[in-house]
Amino acid sequence: MHSLVEPNAWIALKLPSGNTRILQIIPNTTVSLGKYGSFPSNLIIHRPYHLTYELQDKKPPETFNRLRIVPAAELYSDILSSSDSSNSPDEATPAPDGDDADIPLPTGVEYTLVDPESGAVVATTDRAELNAEARQTLTMEEIEELKKDATDAGKDLIAKLMLSHTAIDQKTEYSLAKYKLLKTRKYIRRFSVLPLDVAQLDYWLLEDKDPAKILDMREEMVALLGCWANVHFGGEDHCDSESPNEEGIESVPNPKQTPGRWLVVDDTGGLLVAAMAERMGILYPVKSKHLLEGPQRPRSPKARRREPPVQPIMTTTTDSHVPTHPAHQPIVAEDNPDVEPESQENDLSKPRSPQASRKPLGEAKQRSNDLQIPYAHANTLTVIHPNSQPNLSFLRYYDFDITNPTHTPTHPLTRHLMTLSWLQLLEPQLDSTYSSEAPNATPEELRSWKANRRGTYHRKRRRWARTHHVIDSARGGGFSGLVVSSTMDPISVMRHCVPLLAGGAPIAIYSQAIEPLTALADCYSIARRGAWVASPPGELAGCSLEEQEHWAGNDEFPLNPALVLGASIQTSRVRRWQVLPGRTHPLMTSKGGAEGYVFTGWRVKPAEGKVEARGKKRSKKRKVEEGQTQGQGEGGK
């Protein structure tokens, strides 16, 4: 995983401004970096990640710009020399530190130098400004000239522009370094290629794209959710349910092992699901081994001429170290020329996973066995969604299309991700597929139908089986944990999800604002729990524990407070620093927005009957704590 940049991979380009851009690296295209220039995509395919490149000038007769790998020694030379001889001022700072320095350029101005502290414009290439500035020595023509031949990747331009602005001479060394920092970012034609894993996707969505779409969920929050919900690789199916099972009956999993199954509510467009899938090892399609061997692989001369005819072949194995599992090999032969879609060049309208054009795996086989469950038992995610279809569109960056999972039969998510709506979960009898009988036709009928109709029939049967399995297994409960990042009221989510959790299962809920979570925590306050034990709601008299678990709640007890232990709320935020010789300090600015909070707790199983608390009486001094909902003086209320 993420060894070399694969053709058609989604990647992040980190630009000199510190901004990132996401794009799919399609072979034989030109990647434009806007004002920084452009280069052929083939120059980064099958190359390592995290190298810093510099755009070279075109070397006629070549019609494209080549890239140069900037060695670390060169990247850091200025910083290191300044730390070696302490009195020479710092030169360029190569590692953009994320400081928000990318000030939008006014129209007509190509380059502007801005003092980051005061926001004052120090120098600009705008003609009017230049003319007005009597001491300005560089003409517009000169600048244009410089930009055209941009020798040495624009460094000259910077130098001249710096010199031309005599005011800079009067600045202190300290602020001079600041100006240079900005300018360097603006001009140097350097960039690096980063893998679009979940951390990078989150970073980009937050910083450059649209934080609202992911409820402002920062990496800190994603990380806390995953840990507190204990999301990890949840084991393998012990009985291989992939092997065709003629009766279509699922074998019972080993009862001693509890398969890792997590319940998810995701209103972040799939970012949360992607993050959890990453933790479980089911997010990335693992490339076949020969691709990892890289470009040294011997090739036929024919293949060498055009782009390689090899498409990434995916397996469901989770481990980048693991060689391809033979059972998961797609039926398409490696050298099948059809694998390389001819349409590549003219159908570029949507990002497409390499096998998007393939037929579902082993269609013939599936026909005889429509009712076989196409899902794994262990290591699964079950997503409950508010609309009739889930919105998990960000998964497409991982070659998975939730609206068409059968098109990626070997993607691990195809077998490990299940989705159902709240209606399907709570009132499945109202779901038309669920409430109907499985379509059933006699072999004679089948034979009499046209291929088209037969296809529909099989599709319907498969969908029926899928729907039944997803709904029944979700309603069956026993989940290993609950992770939520939603705009819905967490109390309503908990009311229906807590009973579906296994005893001891952790709960982790993200919210942009704290209020929904304080309201939730208040449902489990000490006072409320005490009152529940002392005098439970009259309507529950004579109810079994099971019935009490599914109780709908009332005003006084919105939730059964005995089902959750350790309700608490936390928040976390990182602060980034600039570390430079003699100039180490936290960044001056960073993103605001939603603070973000995480609620955690455990699903517990109350004992039958009335359970009195015991413990030392609290002294008066602990008055304040007494009022808290989270004192959790459990046994000793």
Partner: protein, 516 residues
Amino acid sequence: METYKVSPFLDPGSLTTPDTLSIVHLSRDNIQPVYLQDTTGAVNGYAEGAVINTRFGSFPHSTLINKPWGSQIRASIVDTGSRGRKRKLEAIAADIAAEDTPDDGTGEDASSAGPTKDVKTAASGFIHILPPTPEVWTTSLPHRTQVVYTPDYSYILHRIRARPGMHIIEAGAGSGSFTHASARAVYNGYPTNGGEKKGKVWSFEFNEDRYKKMQEEIKSHLLEGLVQITHRDVYNDGFLVDGESPEADCVFLDLPAPWRALPHLSRRRPTPSQLASAGLEPLNGEESEWKSPLRSDRSVYICTFSPCIEQVTKTIDTMRRLGWMEIEMVEVAHRRINVMRERIGYNMPTERGANQSAGNVEEAVARLKEVERRFKEFNKGRPGATDANMDEDEEMLDEGDLVNGNASRVREAEGLEDTPSTKPWMVGRLIHRTEAEIKTHTSYLVFAILPQEWSEEQEAAAYETWPCGKESKVIGSLNKEARKQEKREMLEGKKRKKGPGGNKADGNHDSDQKNI
């Protein structure tokens, strides 16, 4: 080849089982690890076998075994009288004396051979029993060093991409807090005969006691095969284990001088001048062939964890000299938040935690008027009504009652009653505040990435496979001119009706395209 029992950290099963780690939850800040023992016969003088004593009651292990995880367990009536007086004192001294004997089995005195006594449930008291996770372990583990807590380790593991199947180097192991969290992160099954490489933690600790303790813990937590701890001074002796490379994908250094360990984490032997410039000694074993502990065909992610800024400066300086990229330093500010009901007002129930002062201006004015009215009324009936001197024996409403918030007296006097519909736990405004004490600084986190090496031969081969010069489309961000041109072409294409595919560049997802 060994077969492994799955660690309760990774799959606890659905019921508690004997001889595996369980977590007893007494209160939010009192969580205890316990190895449940299935004993027949008395232990430590308890006829009931091993017993956990807490201030919430006594809990024989037999009442905790084979229960669904998360079960609430009632306290039992345990006869402590028959036990030695000394032991009893010990048990009281410790808030919870988990009288479970250590897992090595020593110290167990199953002297009386008879069957375990039947256990009677006590009238009150309970605990909950939870499966172990790195999060609860971190709060309950025996501290031998400073440990890395959940807010830091969750973020670190996320940033260094510790994922199923990865190999992670960790030094020093310390108390094993990070070890457990990273074992869970990289776990993708136990090693099998097939020789498939599975996720693994390569842990290093140079303090012998801690090393030994960790080794025991790994064993008793069933993490063997997933965590390998090596007794090592990594500054001097690096990270190879039995001469072999861990082939690490990611690295976490929680050491006093991470920069001294960094040279060993190189792809090729650092040059003497590189080391000298960083103020470091030459490495041991200069003669032998260099073997990197890092995985060669992938970028390696690192995090170092240091409390002081001087450590950070040195670490980053060394990282720059050794070619690490994307160097970034952050600190994590984490807060737990308490939620409570704020009860302010004259008509709040007279409970602890309620503040019986005026809840708003109207309430204050109403109360003042009332006082004024009574005062007048009281004096009206008296001769010399204007005389401010009052008979001290006179039973009257003292203003002090109001001021001091003796509300019940006021209420009685006023005939006020709580509206019976509002339950005490629903009264007052729901508020929150940061916990009483916060950790304002744990450590500075330095992150960096070491890309794989890329030779000119590799580059030449890649170039031959992926030749340039026949680019058909522009992707990525376009400058204004190119964008205009594209638009023109697209419009023309539309006019011509369904040309061969759109001209819109694929994969263009820069910020001006909001269609995700």
